[in-house]
C-alpha cells in the first residue's frame, strides 16, 4: 500500500498540546480525532504540520461499526471528508459498538465474538469502505468485561474480519495488555493469529492499575509492560508506524518526548 509504509513514530494531536506536538523532536506523524475536526476550519496547528509534510491520519471513535444499528453514513462521510482535507493515506476506527437501542454508551464497547456479530460487523465495514475515499484500518479495543459466549478468540475474530473485508489492522498494544490483565487474553496468541501483513500501525498508551483492574486511561504514563507487548510485536513484524495516545493530564514536553523516545528505542532495537 502506498503512503502508509514507514510512518515512523507519532503522537495523537490534541488541541491542548498543539504547540507541544509542533515543537517536539521526533514526531514523524500525527493522528487527529475525526469527530473533533470541522471541514473548512482545520486547526492552524494541523495545517502547519501538513505544510511541514507531517502525515495526519484521521482516527474515528463514533462509527459504531460493531453495532447492530445500520451504519450512520453521515459519520462515514465526515471521516472521508476529513481524510481528504488532510490528504490522509488511511483512516481508522475501532472494532466496537458505541450505540444500541437508542442509547449512547459514550465509550468503545466490545462486541460479542459470535458469528452473528461478525456477520453484522463485516457488512458494516464493507458499507463504510464503499463510502470512504481511502483504506480503513480497524483497532482492537480494551474490554473491562467479556461477552459470555465467544465462539472465536479475539485474534481469530480480527483475522476473519480482515479475510472477509480486506481491511487493515490498527493494533493497540496497551489494549492488548489491558485485555490480558482484565479478561485473560493472551497477547502472544493474539499476535500469532492476526494477519500481521495487514498491520497499518500500532497504538501505545498509558493507563493505571486500580485494584485488580487495569484502566486504559490515556491519562497516565505508558507502563513498561505495555512496551514489552510492543517489543513482542516488533519481534514478529516491523510496524509501519507506532503512535502514542495521550488524551488527558498532559505531562511536560520533556516527559512526552521521553515516552516517544522509549517507543522509538523498542522499534529501532528490532530494525538493527
Amino acid at each position: 500500500m502506498v503512503g502508509i509504509k514507514d510512518l515512523g513514530v507519532g503522537i495523537g494531536w490534541r488541541s491542548e498540546i498543539d504547540l507541544t506536538v509542533e515543537r517536539l523532536p521526533g514526531v514523524d506523524f500525527v493522528e487527529v480525532v475525526a469527530e473533533n475536526l470541522h471541514i473548512g476550519h482545520l486547526p492552524e496547528s494541523v495545517t502547519l504540520l501538513l505544510e511541514r509534510g507531517v502525515p495526519v491520519l484521521p482516527h474515528a471513535v463514533s462509527l459504531s461499526l460493531g453495532g447492530a444499528d445500520p451504519v450512520d453514513l453521515h459519520r462515514v462521510e465526515h471521516l472521508g471528508a476529513v481524510a481528504e482535507a488532510v490528504g490522509a493515506p488511511m483512516v481508522s476506527d475501532h472494532v466496537c459498538f458505541v450505540r444500541a437501542g437508542g442509547l449512547d454508551s459514550g465509550h468503545l464497547m466490545p462486541v460479542p465474538r459470535t458469528k452473528d456479530a461478525l456477520d453484522v460487523l463485516v457488512a458494516n465495514v464493507k458499507l463504510a469502505q464503499a463510502n470512504l475515499p481511502v483504506p480503513l484500518a480497524l483497532e482492537n479495543v480494551a474490554a473491562l468485561l467479556e461477552w459470555p459466549d465467544g465462539e472465536l478468540s479475539e485474534g481469530q475474530f480480527l483475522a476473519e474480519l480482515v479475510e472477509r473485508t480486506d481491511c487493515w489492522l490498527l493494533v493497540d498494544v496497551a489494549n492488548l495488555y489491558a485485555n490480558a490483565r482484565n479478561i485473560g487474553t493472551d497477547p502472544e496468541r493474539f499476535l500469532d493469529e492476526i494477519p500481521l501483513e495487514r498491520l497499518a500501525y500500532v497504538h501505545v498508551a498509558g493507563g493505571e492499575q486500580h485494584g485488580d483492574i487495569y484502566h486504559d486511561t490515556h491519562a497516565h504514563a505508558v507502563l513498561p509492560e505495555v512496551l514489552e507487548v510492543l517489543d513482542e510485536l516488533c519481534s514478529r513484524v516491523a510496524p509501519p508506524g507506532v503512535l502514542l495516545e495521550r488524551d488527558d493530564n498532559y505531562p511536560s514536553d520533556t516527559e512526552i518526548a521521553t515516552e516517544l523516545a522509549a517507543i522509538r528505542a523498542v522499534v529501532d532495537k528490532h530494525r538493527g
Partner: protein, 119 residues
C-alpha cells in the same frame, strides 16, 4: 450470506447489545452469562468518563456544587442515560437544568453572572 440472514443476525445482536447498555447505563437487569462484578466495574468506568466530560464542559456548575457534584451527577446519569445522537454539551446543559429544577443549583441569572465574571 443473504440479506435476510443478515437482518436476523442484526436483530439478535441488537437485542443483546441493547440489553447490555440498559444494564450498564440505566441499571437494567444483568444479562444472562455476564459477570455481575465486572458489569459493575464497567458501569462505574462509563459513569466516571461521562462525569469527567460534564465536569470539563461545565466547570462552573461542578464548582458551585462542590462535593455534591458527584452524587448528584450519578443520580442524574441513571435517570437520564445518554441518547444516541445527543452531544456531550447537551448532556452538560441538561444536567445543569436538572440541578436547577431540583433546587440544587441557583437560578440561571446568577450562573450567567458568574460566567461573565470568571471569563
Amino acid at each position: 450470506m443473504n440479506e435476510n440472514e443478515l437482518l436476523v443476525a442484526r436483530e439478535r445482536l441488537a437485542a443483546r447489545q441493547t440489553e447490555l447498555l440498559n444494564a450498564l447505563l440505566s441499571n437494567g437487569p444483568v444479562p444472562a452469562g455476564f459477570d455481575e462484578q465486572r458489569l459493575n466495574v464497567e458501569r462505574r468506568a462509563l459513569l466516571s468518563k461521562r462525569r469527567g466530560i460534564v465536569r470539563m464542559l461545565g466547570p462552573a456548575v461542578a464548582d458551585e456544587l462542590g462535593d455534591r457534584f458527584r452524587p448528584l451527577f450519578d443520580a442524574y446519569a441513571v435517570e437520564h442515560p445518554r441518547r444516541a445522537g445527543s452531544r456531550a454539551r447537551e448532556d452538560a446543559a441538561s444536567f445543569a437544568e436538572w440541578c436547577r429544577a431540583s433546587g440544587e443549583l441557583s437560578a440561571e441569572r446568577k450562573a450567567r453572572w458568574k460566567f461573565w465574571q470568571s471569563n
